[in-house]
Every structure is written in C-alpha cells, then in structure tokens.
C-alpha cells in the first residue's frame, strides 16, 4: 500500500522512503467574496503516483487545480513543485518547470490543426522569438523538425494519427480529451493535473483514455486526477483524497475510501447505516 498523507494529521511531506513529494500543497486557501472555495487544503503527490481527487460538486476541486496550475493565486498557503515554491509563478511558467494540466471542458485550439495543437506545447523553442527566427534559422528549423516528429508520435500514441492534419474543431468530446493528453505530454512534464478526463466520454473511448493514462504514468509522470467516475478512479489510483467544503475530508486507498462512512455521506448525500460500514 502506498503512503497516505493527510493534512489533518500534519503528516511530514516526505514519503516513507524519505523522498520528498514531487508536488506538495500546504494549507492552500482561496476565497471568492464570502465563499471559502478552498480552505486550507494540503496534498502531497509523490514521484510515479496517481492520486485521485474526488468530492461532491462545489467541493473546490477545480479551484484547487486552478491554484496549483497558476490560473488562480492562493490567498494563503504554499505550493511546491520538486521542492521549489511556485504559488507566485505565472501559469505560463509552470509547464516549463514540469507541471502540466488538462481542462474539465477540453480547450483545443479549434481552428488549428491537431499537429499544430500539439506542437504549440513544445517548450523553450528558439523560434518563439521574433528576432531569432531570422538570426538563427537553422536552429529554428532543427527544433521544428524535432518537435514535429515528437508531436506526430504523441498523436499516434493517443490514437488520433489518422486526423493529424484536421482542424481540432472536427474532434468529438472524447477525442478532444485525448488531444489534451498529447498536448500536455509534448511538454514532458513531471506532473500532470487531469481534470475529469472521463466526463462526457463514450465507453469505448474511455478505455483508450484510461489505457493512455496508465502508459503515461509508466513513463514516470505523476498524475493528480479529478474524476467522478469511481470505477476509473479505482482502476487508476493508488490513493484517493476526498475534498468537501474546500478542505480534505479523508484520504486513503480506494478500498478505504469506499468504506468510509463520512465520504459516503458527503459524496453521495446518503446516511450509511452503521452495519453497512
């Protein structure tokens, strides 16, 4: 069983082996007016882990994601990526530092080809400078060639190879989720935040998505996954953190979480009889 760290018990931010977590949030909070959307949330993600983040609608999961990804700035708390504080780094810097994300509602660049969508995620490109395009043309060409090859390989990896030159607007909802996976992988992140990759996806594509997430994780990428599909969570995650009202309600293995009475009450809105727990 993997280590279970909990904000409530103030667990040390290292795994049992003493290896610091690759991503760590400590006491992160964010209010919108009088609403504490995230209220002192802490979470550790260790190298090679897939952690599921679940909770009822309005629990603050996506806000917590946005705080980690940099789309929002926390009011208080620390976020560390590979030991370095990032909570005040702009969102655009975080991918280059190794933190990628996908969106609950996929956000492809609809008018751009699928190849360009993925190539747009390449990092540290010399050709992103106006002047260097003219001063270092051979470097730009070589980088573009390498990026194109890598993007094509990733598009094949997510099973969209037959659509490589099509505009992203032709993709179905599930295919858009796959495109987002390829796009974020293009940047070679150490950590990926996946926001509901199964939402609205037909069962056939869902298996492909799960399979690709497992393969991405096998390549050494740590994953924090928001999902309502408990079957998918159970198949992918070694550890689950449950959020409710902006804070951690419980953490543990899928089996522990499934058996947790508080979780069932908060998540399913049911009062579970004692005998059943």
């Amino acid at each position: 069983m993997q280590s279970v760290s909990s904000a409530a018990d103030g667990a040390a931010h290292t795994s049992a082996g003493g290896v610091p977590p690759v991503l760590s949030a400590k006491g992160v909070a964010r209010r919108f007016g009088g609403n504490r959307a995230v209220d002192g949330m802490s979470l550790d993600l260790h190298g090679g882990e897939i952690v599921g983040l679940i909770g009822p609608n309005g629990a603050g999961k996506t806000t917590f994601f946005n705080l980690i990804a940099g789309s929002l700035v926390p009011d208080t708390g620390e976020i560390l990526l590979k030991g370095e504080r990032i909570e005040h780094q702009p969102a655009a810097r975080r991918l280059a530092m190794g933190l990628g994300r996908t969106f609950q509602i996929p956000r492809p660049f609809a008018g751009m080809s699928i190849l360009d969508n993925v190539m747009a995620a390449a990092q540290n490109q010399t050709g992103e400078s106006i002047l260097r395009n003219f001063l270092q043309p051979s470097t730009v060409r070589a980088e573009e060639r390498a990026a194109r090859e890598r993007a094509r390989a990733l598009i094949e990896f997510v099973t969209l190879g037959h659509l490589v030159d099509q505009p992203a607007r032709v993709l179905s909802g599930g295919q858009r989720k796959l495109l987002e996976l390829a796009r974020v992988m293009m940047a070679e992140p150490a950590v990926i935040l996946l926001d509901e990759p199964a939402a609205g996806v037909n069962p056939a594509l869902l298996d492909v998505i799960i399979d690709r997430i497992v393969e991405i994780n096998r390549r050494g990428v740590s994953i924090l996954l928001i999902e309502h599909n408990m079957d998918m969570i159970a198949r992918l995650c070694g550890r689950i953190v449950v959020m409710a009202s902006g804070r951690e309600l419980a953490a543990g293995t899928p089996a522990e979480i499934m058996a947790n009475r508080e979780v069932a009450e908060a998540y399913l809105g049911e009062v579970v009889p004692e005998a059943a727990t």
């Binding site: 655009a92 660049f109 609809a110 751009m112 747009a120 490109q125 992103e128 395009n133 796009r183 974020v184």
Partner: protein, 333 residues
C-alpha cells in the same frame, strides 16, 4: 494606352501599396493576435512625422530637419512607432477587446492633436513639406518617377510579406494563434499571453509606422488632417474586405478598397455639380461603408480567408449576434 494613364496606374498602385504596408501591420495585430486596435492613424502619424523630421531639410524655428537619408528615416519610423506601440501595449494589452479599442482610439486622437499643436516640432496645421521623395531626381519625368516608386513599394511589400509569412508559420506565429484561439489553454501550455501580445502589438505598430513613412515620402508633404479617424476606418475596411489573418488578403484588400475609393472619387467628380463637389465627397465614405457592410454580411471571413481559420467577428458584431467572445482578446477588464 497613353503614358499619362500608365503613370497614373503606377501612382495609384504605389499609394495602394503604402496602404498595404499599413494593413499588413494591422493584420499582425488583429488578424493574427485578435488585438482590436482602432487607433491605426496614430501609429501611422508617428512613423510619418519621425521620418519627415529625420530626413527633411532644416527649417528655421522648427525642431528636426536633420536631412538624413530616406532609409534612415524609414528605419527611424519603424523603430519609433514600434517603441511607442510596445509602451502602449505594455499599458493596455490586458484590457478586454472593446476597452483596448477605446484606449487606442484615444491614443490616436491624442497623437493627432499633438501634431496639430506642437508647431515647433511638427509644423502644426501647416504640416511638414519638402520631405525628400525616393528617386526625386526623376520627378520631372512622371512615368519614370512613378514606376521607380512603384518598384520600391513592390519590393517593400513583398519583403514584408515574406517576413510576415515566415513569422506566421514559425513557433512565434503558432503561439499567437494559440493565444488568439484560447488564452487560458495557451497559458497552460507555457505561452505568456502578455508577452506575445505586446510583441505582436509592437511589430504591427512598427509596420504601420513604416507605412506612414512610405506615404509621407511618396507624397512629399504631411499635415495633421491626413491622420484623422477616417484613415483608421479605411485600413480596417481594407483588412476586412481582403481577409483577416491572411497576409495576401491584407494586400488584396488594400488594392481593392483603394480602387473603390479612387473610383468613387472620380464618380463624384463626374456626376456632382461643381458647387456640390465638396459635400458629395462624403459619398466616398458611404460607398466604402456599404461595401464593408456587404462583406461583413455575406463573406465575413473576407475575400481571402485565413487558411484553416475559424470565422471571427469584430467584438461589436459578436455581441450583436449573440455569439461567444472566446476567440479574441483577453476577458479581463
């Protein structure tokens, strides 16, 4: 075909190509980046006046008049308009599309009023004359002069076209398109919207400045009334008619709208009674406006649409038609 007619055609094309330079600048800002700049005339004016001050002969009691070569003037115009655009971009680029439009309009009006009132620098309402013209030694031979200037403008527009096409296909151009399509997703992919937008605004402004300098040197005289909001309207009409996001469309739009402008001028001259000519000239604006409406209604992507591009609408049309605003600009105010 008479030599005079050939000379007129060359003159017409040269003026149209000076507009094409300006429209290419706007295409970088709006077509590729989604920045709603309605202060085009201000950036054109800055380029024109900087180049005029650098290259015109000294005049007693007026600043400037450095009598430098025309090439230095054009470079100065490019750099000055680019720096001003970068500064304005740095201050305003976070604004939502319509607020950016209001800001840039205000800047253009400020520039126009500044050149009107800074008499010791700009000549005030009298403008600056004796601006050296390229191939000025051919001025006595109208056909040779017009053809030489046309060749120069063709070279400038072709060079700009190649440069902008190269940039549009580069990772820089790809990042611009990504930001225009979905700012939040692009930011999550490590592209700083602020940085790329400021760069695009500065490059577009620099090119507009170059266009202003080219116009000033071709005509040989500039005055504040050349840089009224009507110029901005003309340039926008050219880009929309030709096709936003397509550099070839920008050039085509400049040629077509300028042709329409020139033809309507000739029509007014031929049909309006002598005493009503000045008032009838307003019909030119009406004709361009009607053409613009027709394009917006029946072919909103322009005559040469952006390759692979989605249909985009100006912010006010988007609101009017109730379509989402996600494709352009930032959502921050």
């Amino acid at each position: 075909m008479s030599l005079e007619f050939l000379a007129y055609c060359a003159f017409f094309l040269t003026v149209a190509l000076t507009y094409a330079v300006i429209v290419l600048g706007l295409n970088v800002q709006w077509g590729q980046t989604g920045l709603f700049n309605v202060g085009v005339a201000g950036f054109v004016a800055v380029g024109a006046y900087v180049s005029a001050l650098l290259t015109s002969p000294a005049v007693e009691g007026r600043f400037g008049g450095l009598d430098l070569p025309i090439l230095v003037g054009w470079l100065g115009a490019f750099v000055a308009a680019g720096l001003l655009s970068a500064l304005i971009g740095w201050m305003t680029i976070r604004l939502r599309a319509d607020y950016l439009a209001i800001s840039t309009f205000g800047i253009a009006v400020t520039v126009q009023l500044a050149v009107l009132n800074l008499e010791d620098v700009t000549g005030g309402p009298f403008g600056i004359s004796l601006i050296p013209r390229p191939f000025g030694d051919l001025a006595g031979r109208s056909l040779a002069f017009s053809l030489a200037n046309l060749a120069l403008l063709v070279a400038v527009v072709f060079g700009l076209y190649l440069m902008l096409q190269h940039l549009a296909k580069s990772p820089w151009g790809r990042a611009l398109r990504a930001i225009r399509e979905d700012e939040m997703a692009a930011e999550a992919l490590g592209k700083s919207p602020r940085r790329f937008r400021i760069e695009a605004f500065a490059l577009g402004g620099a090119i507009m400045g170059l266009g202003g300098a080219a116009q000033a040197h071709f005509i040989g005289f500039i005055a504040p009334e050349n840089y009224l909001p009507m110029l901005t309207f003309q340039v926008w009409a050219m880009l929309i008619v030709g096709g936003s996001g397509n550099n070839r469309g920008a050039i085509l739009g400049a040629l077509l709208v300028w042709a329409l402008w020139a033809a309507s001028s000739a029509l007014v001259e031929a049909l309006a009674p002598a005493g009503e000519q000045a008032r009838a000239a307003s019909l030119q604006t009406v004709i361009i406006g009607v053409a613009l409406c027709a394009i917006l209604l029946f072919r909103p992507q322009g005559l040469l649409p952006e390759p692979g591009g989605a249909r985009r609408r100006l912010p006010f049309l988007r609101r009017w038609r109730g379509t989402p605003a996600a494709t352009t600009g930032s959502d921050r105010t």
